[in-house]
């Protein structure tokens, strides 16, 4: 455990980053929290079901500078529809402009590093929003990333612009010669009346272990629309903690879909902070896992202002020795009257060795609200199976059909055509379903 702490400290000492700005402040408090809190154990309520320490306690390298990743490596990992997409490539946690491709003009999409951004007009935005997620995650994992935030990227989607080219982000860990730890950091600002699609994917090259500890903080202004899709389909030696922290500071709409198929230990933190009255948030998740994959989805919806609407639906199909964890929190603050917040988590267990730990949680301080949550764990409906079999559908095909239908509800929420098709294909393949 101390290895990771040492690694971060050595890195700071090797390339000192000094000054008095918000990035430096974040670095300092990050180091403090890392020292005080350390890497969370299962005694930490937020990490009760996920043994992060054992995954982090490997001799990782923190190799930002040395990358042998070439354009041909990137070609392999591209997602469908890339021809018309802006592609941002991060290698071992750091943005690489020469591997990336920006199609949108600068007055629509502006990209620069955080240490550059604080020297421009963006300073006010960075100062105000960078590091906000730390309030919701007081642990060494979040702190570790804060320490190195100055290497992060600032993305501005300009106001009144509806981006016709989606933004694909590839986070590549190059573990071909060593175990790699990376800590990508992004701050995304979506201006008023803007609309943008983000698609995010993590990829590990090589067969060694990798760990991505990623934080994306996103600020959404008035009347803006954000669509954010994540596809997690890695090898079993790839681990990650991904924090997506979305502040809706204007009346806005955000759609999030997270698909998980493969990986080692995956932890997704998805936070929605609804800071303006009348926000709308949709969060969908599908985890279709097998092997020994451990998928942990932690979500927070924090209703600060009145009249907001949030809907959350996470579905899981868990096979073999896989484990799924779900923790959905809904906070309704005292001022957030007339909040409507719904949450649902449905799980199908396919094997006797699979495990589900779910905890849908409501904390409500306002009285005029409608909140509900529900969760189910079970196997396939015997009657539905019987119905299909009675009509001549083979057992295997019937099961696949039912499972695909179960998953389809989430896949339908992806509005980006090529990505939805791709998602349908990989899920159908996983479930042995003939499209």
């Amino acid at each position: 455990m101390s290895d990771v702490k040492e690694l971060i400290k050595n890195k700071i000492e090797a390339t000192p980053f000094s000054g008095n700005g918000s990035l430096q402040a974040l670095l300092k408090t990050g180091l403090q929290v890392l020292e005080q809190e350390g890497i969370p154990t299962v005694k930490h309520e937020e990490w009760k079901y996920t043994r992060i320490a054992s995954v982090l306690n490997k001799n990782y390298h923190y190799a930002v500078e040395k990358t042998g990743v070439s354009k041909t490596d990137v070609d392999v990992v591209r997602l469908p529809g890339y021809e018309s997409a802006n592609e941002l490539v991060f290698v071992n946690g750091v943005y690489h402009a020469e591997l990336s491709k920006i199609l949108s003009p600068k007055d629509e999409l502006d990209i620069l590093t955080l240490s550059e951004a604080v020297k421009t007009d963006y300073k006010a935005i960075v100062d105000k929003h960078l590091g906000h997620s730390a309030q919701y995650h007081k642990d060494g994992i979040n702190a570790m990333n804060n320490v190195l935030a100055y290497e992060g990227l600032f993305i501005s989607v300009k106001k009144n612009k509806k981006l016709s080219n989606p933004v694909y982000c590839y986070y590549i860990n190059d573990a071909r010669s060593a175990k790699i730890l990376s800590q990508p950091r992004t701050l995304i600002h979506v201006g008023a009346n803007a609309e943008v699609f983000f698609v995010e994917e993590e990829i590990t090259l090589g067969t060694d272990d990798s760990f991505i500890n990623r934080i994306a903080e996103i600020v959404v202004e008035d009347n803006a629309q954000l669509h954010i899709y994540k596809i997690q389909n890695e090898d079993s030696h790839s681990n990650c903690v991904k924090t997506t922290h979305i502040r809706q500071i204007g009346v806005s709409k955000v759609n999030s879909v997270t698909l998980t198929l493969n990986g080692g230990m995956i932890r997704n933190n998805l936070n929605f902070i609804l800071e303006a009255p009348g926000c709308e948030s949709h969060m969908y998740g599908l985890y279709c896992v097998k092997g020994e994959t451990h998928i942990d989805n932690h979500t927070i919806v924090d209703n600060v202002q009145p009249n907001s609407f949030s809907n959350e639906l996470y579905k899981g199909i868990i096979d073999e020795k896989a484990t799924a964890v779900f923790n959905g929190k809904i906070f309704v603050r005292q001022d957030a009257q007339k909040t409507n917040a719904y949450q649902s988590n449905k799980n199908v267990l396919l094997s006797n060795e699979a495990t589900v730990n779910t905890k849908p949680q409501l904390e409500i301080f306002a009285d005029d609200v409608k909140c509900s949550h529900g969760c189910t764990v079970g196997r396939l409906d015997e009657e539905a199976l019987f119905y299909l079999r009675a009509r001549g559908v083979g057992e295997k095909a019937a099961k696949a059909l039912l499972l695909y239908a179960f998953a389809g509800e989430i896949l339908d929420k992806i509005e980006l055509e090529p990505i939805r098709k791709y998602a349908e294909e990989i899920i159908a393949e996983r479930l042995d379903f003939d499209l």
């Binding site: 730990n357 905890k359 301080f365 306002a366 509900s372 969760c375 189910t376």
Partner: protein, 481 residues
């Protein structure tokens, strides 16, 4: 309806009607906790050596443990050295019949509405009353003894049935289970013991009444119920405490064992003093309740109506070990003013075809906070386990909070687990409907709340149901309009 109206009117005048102090001479231990106090308590009760050893073991464990802080409640730390761990109403001689009980003590029970005489003759409920942790009277003992049922105080059971106590005490809630159960194991001064022999259906409701009377004391009672093969018992528990500015600690342990085909129904109406309107005083109610369905087809059912206590911290649980066993939990928790409640249940499915059902209704008013915290766990071997949980919260007023923390852990794919929860306030249209039909708002709210809680109230034995309905109205008095 008119009865409910008058109840509300009456209770508008009386704030906490159980808040008197009885002037009974008490036999007390000095405040503080040490091995000597544990020895003192044990000696006072004339306990055998093995019991003292058991207590000391618990005490030593307790010293190593830390105060749990995970619950969603906040209160100043309890000073465990400022509490008196033993306070017994003084009795000069051994009693042969109820008539010999201190008249003042009996007057106390009459005020409580459980006149021992009356209980004995009319309602057919056998009562074991515990004041300041010492059992003072047990009614109907001889009648029960004829059927082989043992219903007596824990101290008596330790003297007279040591083999049963040795076998079962601590078998469901081990000494080291948690901070407060360890404390209880070390210092419990009395409680009730109930043993239902094989094949016996207990013909009457058994009941315990707890009351904290002396100032500066903590109450630590211990209840143990053992239901042998094919037996049945319904057990009631009620509690009150006087009004005091200080906070008093109540840390009880209840253990239930149900063997093959046995059924135990445990109902609680908890009405400890909740503190005044500013949140001053009141009882800290940190209770460990657990039952084990160790035999096949056995059933344990918890029903609770929680209206009192400043801080409640309580999770009646069932371990479903026997195949086809059933666990149930029905709860209404009402918090008003500055009360805090963190309550729920644990259903641990171990055996095949085990079923559990959880219905929890939380009502928060004033500045109070009401949390449901529950665990449903399905072990790898619990084939065909079935659980249904429902937790609904009702908020009255915009200064209170309702929280839900359900933990669901499933390790078997044949399990079917469902959980649903809702939070809302009373609809204006519902109130309007009642107003239109001539009910004032307060009556309308009482009516709606009773409807909201009906599913749980229906589980209570008759005489408790009436009391519980009134308690609901009292607790929420003044919180509307």
């Amino acid at each position: 309806m008119s009865e409910m109206l008058t109840t509300l009117e009456q209770t508008a005048l009386s704030e906490y009607k159980y808040g008197w102090v009885t002037n009974i001479e008490a036999d007390e231990a000095p405040p503080g906790l040490s091995e000597d106090i544990v020895r003192f308590i044990s000696a006072k009760k004339n306990e055998p050596e093995w019991m003292l050893e058991w207590r000391l073991k618990a005490f030593r464990q307790w010293q190593k443990m830390e105060v749990p802080r995970w619950s969603n409640v906040s209160y100043p730390d309890v000073d465990f050295q400022a509490i008196k761990y033993y306070s017994a109403p003084k009795q000069k001689k051994v009693l042969n019949s109820l008539d010999e009980v201190d008249p003042e003590l009996r007057a106390t029970f009459e005020k409580l509405g459980i006149s021992l005489d009356e209980q004995k003759r009319l309602s057919g409920v056998a009562v074991d009353a515990v004041i300041d942790s010492v059992s003072v009277a047990t009614t109907f003992k001889t009648q029960l003894a004829e059927m082989g049922i043992i219903f007596c105080s824990m101290s008596e059971a330790i003297q007279e049935h040591p083999e049963l106590i040795k076998k079962w005490l601590g078998s469901v809630v081990p000494v080291t289970d948690n901070f407060y159960s360890a404390l209880n194991s070390a210092v419990f001064s009395d409680g009730s013991f109930c043993y239902i022999p094989k094949g016996v259906k207990c013909p009457m409701e058994l009941s315990t009444y707890f009351r904290i009377n002396a100032a500066g004391t903590g109450q630590f009672e211990r209840t143990l119920i053992v239901a042998e093969e094919g037996s049945y018992v319904s057990y009631l528990e009620g509690c009150t405490a006087p009004q005091r500015d200080e906070n008093q600690l109540h840390a009880a342990v209840v253990e239930i064992v149900a063997l093959d085909n046995a059924e135990v129904k445990y109902s609680t109406v908890q009405n400890w003093y909740p503190g005044d309107k500013e949140g001053k005083g009141g009882i800290y109610n940190f209770v460990t309740k657990r039952g084990i369905c160790s035999g096949i087809n056995s059933k344990i059912s918890w029903t609770q109506v929680e209206t009192g206590s400043a801080v409640t911290w309580k999770y009646p649980s069932v371990i479903l070990k026997g195949d086809n066993s059933v666990g149930e939990f029905y709860s209404v928790a009402v918090t008003n003013n500055h009360q805090q409640a963190d309550t729920g249940t644990k259903m641990i499915h171990l055996g095949k075809n085990t079923k559990s059902r959880i219905v929890s209704k939380g009502i928060s008013a004033g500045f109070s906070h009401n949390s449901y915290r529950g665990l449903v766990k399905v072990a790898p071997n619990a084939v065909n386990a079935r659980n249904f949980s429902q937790c609904d919260s009702l908020l009255l007023g915009d200064k209170c909070g309702a929280h839900t923390f359900p933990y669901i852990e499933v390790k078997n794919n044949t399990a079917q687990v469902e959980h649903e929860a809702t939070t809302s306030k009373i609809g204006e249209d519902q109130i309007f409907y009642c107003n239109q039909r001539g009910l004032d708002t307060e009556t309308a709210v009482a009516l709606i709340i009773n409807g909201f809680a009906k599913e749980v109230m229906n589980q209570l034995p008759m005489e408790f149901a009436v009391e519980a309905q009134k308690l609901l109205a009292i607790s929420l008095e003044g919180s509307v309009g």
